[in-house]
Symmetry: C2
């Protein structure tokens, strides 16, 4: 063996018995094993990370079979109630449903904690449902490794519908779009204020808009909001090639419209699988995730270099004083590093 | 001289005559020279970039003297009218005002083109005002090098107030916060729908909120919106240490409230200069910019390596097939690269 091969051979350590056990029980559908695995994924400890990677490598062949649905909506649109109602409906059809979240808001600003079981208590108690709160750490470059890896684990554990919830802070809708098949926006009043306040560009990410709270006194308003969304979305290039953005109404509280939404998701999956768009998107998502991870690992490793740290410190001082331009200083640092380190 | 020194000496090419000329005229305040320099900054051509860097290096000592104000607001809040009125007011006081913009929205979604002179026609014709439309290219990692470098050029050209406008798409408010001293949010109706729709976290970035269109029939509503914002912002940790978020009303159309806003900015500058917060923030902003540029240059250089491109292609195929996990694949790639390339 040459040097490269010897190094790779050494790295194939025998799987830790505990890891093998967790992976096996997870693939049998045991929620406790799934929880443990996700905890390892979220951990910052090196040995936990290694175990998590080992479990993921082990179960990877059994991923990919679920329908991945992203759900976003302005605060007050009723996301928790919706996800709970929708989740319970899917469970009643025999599905296993997992709910994950992306929410970088700080608790300081009063941001709700997504995936909080107390907000979806009934669902959290259903034996075929699995709810996981948002991982505590923010993500560099929006790659959301923890949520993506948790999603894969849920699939390996047999969950057939994975819901990724987000509250629309920063780039989170774009990030959710990058990890799901179908993106549903839960709306409330429709256009006017809501549309104005809505981040431009979100309509170009969605596959369907459901106007919630279409019940009682609010019914007419909801129907008219739906019409408004239909009009607004006509001029938009859809996120999914060959699919027209659908608009519906629903009432999460009274469990109305949920069947229509699920039928829509199934049509979507059928059509896009037939056209090849479904698989194409998943492959692109995986490719983008790889690119993001490479960038992250690269920067991490680079910043560990002692010489780099020293140079960076000096450059930072000059930049802070205003005697060096960041873009020039950065290029010089990289130039020097790469010319010194060329093999 | 040792190898390092010889390399650095060779790089100090004599400044191109045209570059010297542009830099000189720019520092004399000639708007045409400033335009040329910004065009070079925005260009993708290598020789243009080099000239841009040379000009920036030349004028860097003359930067830092302006007040940098960020302005954001929901669509419809009246940003163009406000910036025009406010800009003209500042010009009337003898200031030279520059307006730059960050707007990653695609024209497809009907996004307004910020910094569009046709929306601020009167201001664009004032001899002491300079308006530059959004640079056409989006930015990796939100560093907005082009806008930041344009800002420095404007300062070197003698503009005493630089306004950076953004429409609040994606992370643009956070990015504007990272390049200005004072951040003003232009609001319309106040809380309720507007606040709900507003991205969580933006209130933690602002130094003042001005409720616009406080005139005619809308006056009462504007005043009550101002009160609502005062209440809401009481519980928020201010973006600027030692400064309480101010709330005001104004009418851009009737040029009311502009003096108060300017007085507020001046107080802010005074107080924060005294407390040291002003300089501290600028130094941190420069440091962050450097970090972002280093990451960008690093990734760019890394991706140029032939071996990397080949490995990446193979890994991407495996990841897309679902036979490799992005996070693991990325780390392996980086590990191999760094161990092969160690000096």
């Amino acid at each position: 063996m040459d040097r490269k091969e010897r190094r790779r051979f050494k790295r194939k350590e025998p799987l830790n018995l505990q890891v093998t056990d967790i992976a096996a029980r997870l693939q049998e559908g045991q929620a406790s094993a799934l929880s443990k695995a996700i905890t390892l994924v979220e951990s910052r400890q090196k040995d936990h990370r290694r175990s998590a990677q080992a479990i993921l490598a082990e179960v990877l062949p059994n991923t990919g079979d679920a329908v991945r649905i992203g759900i976003s909506g302005v605060p007050g649109a009723g996301k928790s109630t919706f996800i709970e109602s929708f989740g319970l409906y899917l469970c009643s059809l025999g599905h296993k449903v997992a709910v994950l979240a992306i929410d970088p808001s700080s608790p300081v600003s009063g941001g709700s904690i997504l995936g909080d079981k107390t907000r979806m208590e009934k669902l959290s108690r259903h034996p075929n449902a699995f709810i996981r709160p948002t991982p505590s750490e923010g993500e560099f470059g929006g790659v959301h490794r923890k949520t993506r890896e948790s999603l894969l684990l849920c699939e390996a554990a047999g969950y057939s519908v994975i819901i990724v919830e987000t509250v629309g802070v920063g780039q989170s809708e774009a990030e959710v779009r990058d990890m799901v098949d179908f993106f549903l926006l839960l709306a409330l009043t429709g256009a006017g204020d809501e549309l104005q306040g809505m981040k431009k560009g979100i309509l170009e990410l969605v596959d369907a808009i459901a106007v919630n709270k279409a019940d009682g006194d609010n019914l007419e308003r909801a129907l008219s909001a739906k019409e408004e969304y239909s009009r607004v979305t006509m001029g938009i290039t859809p996120a999914t090639s060959g699919w027209n953005i659908a608009t519906l109404t629903c009432s999460a509280l009274y469990q109305e419209g949920l069947e229509d939404i699920w039928k829509l998701v199934l049509s979507f999956a059928d059509e896009t699988r037939q056209s090849g768009v479904f698989d194409c998107r998943r492959r692109n998502q995986a490719g983008k995730w790889l690119q993001a991870e490479v960038r992250r690992a690269l920067v991490e490793r680079f910043m560990k270099d002692g010489d780099v740290q020293a140079s960076l410190k000096l450059l930072e001082e000059r930049v802070r004083e205003g005697t060096a331009l960041p873009s020039m200083a950065a290029h010089e640092l990289i130039d020097v590093y790469f010319s010194l380190n060329k093999k």
